[in-house]
């Protein structure tokens, strides 16, 4: 490191379950250039200052969704957040809020994986279809209905932005609901009735109090708050429709 090298302080919330009772802060002095992402900053720490620092990353181009962290208290992808936006002040880095900390910046996402499974994130055909019938055709309007909700990269920033999920971790939450909605409004899908049971349940959309921060922090403009709130209407319709139709609707 040359004398003239600029440096920036990165404060990391550390937690090693085998020796720490609770998380604690540690400050590192990292060489700074103005093209460095926060992810590159923590990578420098791991490579040169403290090899025991744990964090997730892969693509470093806002596609894989694995590098989410609280950066100065905001849920952010660390690969697309730049140190120059904070320099010369210190940057605070912490594991994503509302998830249990597994180790340092790594959170436990098992709960989310279970939710993802529970929404059946695949097309459930309305009726069996043979190969000979060929591919499904969709109009641009039919594609428009779900396209935005299919851009989710499962980065979980929206969960770290949702206080209702923090207070009640069983709430199915923004991204899983957005994906659920993505399949429900797909013209090829016939699984809506099954998925609505989840929407209407205790874990469902009515946990949401329209804070709206999830959609603010989403790096892919999925607008998960919109999916959740549209399904409040759908759920209410489901509830009242059961008085009109002998079967189906809310239980």
């Amino acid at each position: 490191m040359s004398e003239s090298q600029k440096t920036i302080e990165i404060e990391v919330l550390r937690y090693h379950p085998e020796k720490d009772k609770e998380p604690h802060k540690q400050v590192f002095e990292v060489p700074f250039t103005d093209d460095m992402s926060v992810l590159q900053g923590v990578q420098y720490i791991k490579d040169y200052l403290d090899g025991s620092l744990s964090f997730r990353w892969s693509c470093r181009m806002a596609i894989c969704g694995s590098c989410g962290m609280m950066i100065n208290g905001e849920p952010s992808l660390s690969c697309q957040t730049f140190l120059r936006d904070f320099y010369p002040a210190r940057v605070r880095v912490e594991a994503l809020s509302h998830f249990p900390i597994e180790r340092d910046l790594v959170v436990n996402i098992e709960g989310f994986i279970e939710k993802l499974e529970s929404i059946q994130p695949y097309i459930i055909p309305k009726e069996p279809r043979t190969l000979a019938q060929g591919e499904y055709l969709q109009t641009p309007e039919q594609l428009n209905a779900y396209e935005q909700f299919s851009s989710c990269i499962n980065c979980l920033l929206c969960y770290a932005a949702c206080p209702q999920f923090g207070l009640n971790p069983s709430f199915i939450g923004p991204a899983a609901t957005a994906l659920l909605h993505r399949y429900n409004v797909d013209s090829r899908d016939g699984g809506k009735a099954e998925r609505m049971e989840l929407v209407n349940s205790e874990e469902g959309v009515f946990n949401c109090t329209a804070v709206g921060y999830c959609s603010e922090v989403c790096p892919k403009q999925v607008d998960p708050a919109n999916a959740v709130n549209q399904n409040k209407t759908n759920s209410a319709a489901d509830y009242f429709l059961r008085f009109l139709t002998p079967k189906g609707g809310a239980k």
Binding site: P17, G73, E74, H98, I101, T209, V211, G212, Q230
Partner: protein, 132 residues
């Protein structure tokens, strides 16, 4: 032995931890003024049903500076509540497609606010007209 010991952070004081949440609590808090003001109006209606003397007593009670102060405060709170209500509205409704184009969030918020303003002014004009 399993070395895993996932650490769960406390949610105490969560709403103070982010400016977005502080604003959320403020705009939710203004709903209390909406409820309080509705309560006052309903009470006025009750007094009206009880006859002229009761109604006049309620009217003069309303002239108390404390009540007037509260009404000014309630007006400010309600205005802010209305603004935040329509600001979040685009996130809560299905997409509105006009002429093949999806209506922008600001167009939805703007028309909501315009309708609210028109309704208030219309009501004011109506009451003004009746009172003259």
């Amino acid at each position: 032995m399993n070395k895993r010991r996932p650490y769960v952070r406390s949610m105490d004081g969560w709403w103070k931890k982010n400016p977005f949440f502080v604003e959320y609590m403020i705009h939710e808090g203004t709903a209390l003024f909406v409820a309080a003001y509705a309560g006052i109006l309903l009470f006025g209606l009750l007094r009206l049903a009880q006859g002229e003397a009761a109604w006049n007593a309620w009217l003069s009670a309303m002239k108390n500076p404390w009540y007037i102060g509260f009404q000014v405060l309630a007006l400010i709170a309600l205005t802010y509540h209305t603004y935040t209500w329509f600001k979040i509205m685009p996130r809560t409704m299905p997409p509105v497609v006009v002429g093949g184009q999806r209506l922008s969030a600001w167009a939805i918020t703007g028309s909501g606010l315009a309708v609210a303003a028109a309704a208030c002014l219309g009501l004011l004009a109506l009451v003004w007209g009746m009172a003259r």
